[in-house]
């Protein structure tokens, strides 16, 4: 079983703040491995343990994302591909997924490609399905678990808003993964961290992957960000601090007046 996991480094969104002009305040914001991707990786490592084979990770990101990739290696991935070039600057999801699909073709034949269902920064959920489309392979989103792999097919559990589906897919396929509630993320062990240093780490530039370079980066991105701004604030209303009975009565009166309760 040859598995590739697509990963991304993201700012920890619980720390992220923006100024009035919509510019991110970088100070004090930690960069972390997207948790959805970590779940995909842990699921891939579980599959490797069960079915054997190799787990590779790939990212398309500036050099500093290496720490997130190193974390994947420390958690147990066997090797890493890091595609980094100024030519990819300003990529939207279409341009990113295109470049990733080229790099995947170059990296070799994978039975399974796993990715986080979405990244916590952009939150688009586009990359998985788009990469699958570029590669012409089937995919399933919202995958909570890969149940089994047999005879070139995988059976997965995919979450719906009101339940789940058990889906059987021909390999190679891509699974966009969503951690179950309460998923316990693994911390890299000390020995994993030490071993990570000596694992194969391949750097590729834009010139190293074959494809239509006009589809890279900002030029290859159909979407443009017009502007960013802090979300509109609702203004603070009346806050009661005294007697509960009095407060409740006043609120109910107001609610009735506004006809939100009858």
């Amino acid at each position: 079983m040859n598995i590739l996991v697509l990963v991304k480094q993201v700012p920890d969104t619980s720390d992220v703040k923006f100024d009035e002009r919509g510019v991110m305040i970088r100070e004090g914001v930690q960069s972390i491995l997207n948790v959805f991707d970590q779940f995909a990786l842990e699921e891939a490592l579980r599959l490797r343990q069960k079915y054997g084979g190799e787990v590779s990770v790939m990212t398309l990101a500036p050099e500093q994302a290496k720490t997130a990739v190193q974390k994947c290696l420390a958690l147990g991935a066997d090797k890493a591909y890091h595609i980094s070039d100024k030519a990819f600057g300003g990529s939207d999801t279409l341009a990113t997924s295109y470049a990733l699909s080229l790099a995947i073709r170059k990296a070799g034949n994978f039975d399974l490609i796993m990715a986080g269902n979405q990244a916590t920064d952009g939150d688009t959920g586009h990359i998985g399905p788009q990469v699958a489309e570029w590669l012409g392979i089937p995919h399933v989103s919202y995958v909570e678990q890969v149940l089994s792999i047999e005879n070139g097919r995988a059976t997965v559990k995919s979450i719906l808003e009101d339940g789940y589906r058990i889906v059987d897919v021909e390999l190679p396929a891509l699974f966009a993964c969503l951690p179950p509630t309460n998923f316990e993320y693994t911390n890299p062990s000390m020995s994993g961290i030490i071993k990570a240093k000596s694992k194969p780490y391949t750097w590729w530039k834009a010139d190293d992957i074959d494809g239509d370079k006009s589809k890279f980066g900002l030029n290859g991105s159909p979407t443009r960000v017009l502007k960013m701004y802090p979300p509109p604030k609702r203004s603070r209303g009346t806050v009661f601090t005294g007697d509960y009975h009095d407060a409740v009565k006043k609120i109910i009166e107001a609610l009735m007046e506004k006809k939100v309760i009858e």
Partner: protein, 332 residues
Amino acid sequence: MSDYKGILVVGEIYDGKIRPVTFQLVSKARELADTLNTTLSVVLLGHNIGDMAREPIYYGADKVYVMDDQIFEPYVAEVYSRALTKFIGNLKPEIVLIPATHTGREYGPRISAALETGMTADCTDLVIKNGRFVQVRPAYGGNIMGEIITPNHRPQISTVRPNVFKTREPDRSRTGEIVQVKPEFDSMKVRTFIKEIVKTTVTGAKKLDEAKIIVSGGRGVGSKEGFEKLRELADLLGGAVGASRVAVDLGWMPKSAQVGQSGITVQPDLYIACGISGTIQHIVGMKDSKVIVAINKDPNAPIFNIADYGIVGDLHEVIPIFIEEIKKIKKK
């Protein structure tokens, strides 16, 4: 680019019915179509669609394309994306709206890649500014809003979460055209197969995104049992019970009850937040409620900054008073 005309809404049929989000998108698309002075079409994929095809017209569609084939049942991403790619490629709409449901978010991005055009996920608003289609969406866990355009590619594709847009009053006298379309595929080989579909939603929770009143609880509720009181108040008001992510993570409420960034978006008339501090991730999922009431021990809880009415206090004391007062009024 000028070949691309009109707005297309991809409708979703789920459990044999058109999903409400379809009508929400049609309602919004009607406004956009009027502004742009263009036509609004809806495409429905499914099997035995029959008279359902008329419904989008009541909400403002000019034309409904129906692709009725057993291959669409049950839903599979690769089939939907292939059929829609072909259809959209032929129709050439300038704007395509897709529901940001689990299914829409699965097949949608494949279409954008296949057509090599721009796509914007989870839009919270769609506006026409100086003739340009502007897609508004949150990012970074709702900490920032972005305005996205697709200047040189068509169609411009957006996905929109359920309950972001309001549904218009249906006009059953409205007429429009229904066009049957034979689905076309570049390849008929289907590699995905649905073995089983299991529904797990607990009773009462499903109506959360349709409820007019929601009583929602967070860490402050303290326990699974603590939610009983919230349910009592919700039942009394004819509403549903929601939860913050923490309450779900702690196992007090099912995932399907989670309101917020990683849960569902709600827009009720009344949202009562009990023991919810109001992280930005929660707030993005409920901030468009008409009236927000917050009960929290911590006077500095951010939830008070967006609440219309707040009570600083212990919800375990305040909720019973609420229940008691509502009961009194009901008696009258």
